[in-house]
């Protein structure tokens, strides 16, 4: 089992590295305008995708209807808009979420 786990770690490392190096190897001379455009607009879209990805298992049809995620998520947005410090937003939002799921919305 440990051999398999080590193999999985190696695969994750190799694929991640490949993704980071590939554009440097492929577009050595000149970046085509279409790729440059994607490089400009994709990061914002992908972060949006990752937000949804993180929340994909939230149960919105049964109590508490995703309330902890909604409250803590809004807290992160509010903190970020207020102080512009990612660290504060992440810490604050996570602390609120942990308090909510451990005390208010106990499963």
């Amino acid at each position: 089992m440990n051999t398999h786990a080590a193999l999985l770690v190696a695969v994750m490392a190799a694929v991640t590295m490949l993704l980071r190096f590939l554009p440097f190897l492929v577009f050595r001379k000149k970046t085509p305008p279409y790729i440059a455009y994607l490089g400009e607009v994709l990061p914002a879209a992908i972060i949006g995708m990752l937000v949804v990805y993180c929340l994909k298992d939230t149960a919105v049809t049964k109590p508490p209807f995703g309330a902890p995620e909604l409250i803590a998520g809004l807290a992160v947005v509010g903190l970020q808009a207020w102080r512009r410090s990612s660290l504060l937003s992440i810490l604050g939002g996570t602390a609120i979420y942990m308090v909510l799921v451990q005390t208010v919305f106990v499963a």
Partner: protein
Amino acid sequence: MVFPPEERCAMKSEIVRKAFLKSLPVMAGYVILGIGFGILLRDAGYGLPWAFAMAVAIYAGSMQYVGVGLLAGGAGILTTILTTVMVNARHLFYSISMIDKYKNAGRFKPYMIFALTDETYSLLCDGDTPDRENADLYRFLVSLFNQLYWITGCVLGSLLGTVLPFPTTGIEFSMTALFIASFTEQWIRTKDHLPAITGLLSTLLCLLVFGPERFLIPAMLLITLVLTLLRSRRGRKAV
């Protein structure tokens, strides 16, 4: 220009100082997120050597969080490859936008490409450097400092996991919070919100249609398609 050795040395330590200051906002974030990861990984049955190895060799925060699930569930090789591609595909685009900036980085370049995480990208993508001459050393150092913070966090989490004085239920929300914070930040910083909205809505739609197990690849295809259509609408000259 040729500087006497002692002057060049002073310039180098100035670069180190500037790079360290630039990396400071990431330090606390990486240490805390790393601790969260180390705890999760230990809870899944993988201790210190695993946390260290993953922080050194993978060095991708969200992928390592997802990787805990893969390890715990004994995922197959193909699933692991596909999941890594989906979770980390955005790195293709970070690299694409750094091709020009990293062009002359020489011996620093391989490590700088390897260490191009979301946070390092967000620190370096504006292309702003304190000193043109030493821009590559500066970027290399920012990248290196960030990884050192990350390794420290992952190792600490693995060590602390068993002795933390409070229950850690819900700590996995730190990853969600990270992305919500970056989403909010880029929203505030940019005028054109169409890419961000495209990302959110396309993914939500694919989640509803394909379900939580297999929506990521369709979502990425749909996002690319919609952004491509938006480009031809806004006209090629605008790009």
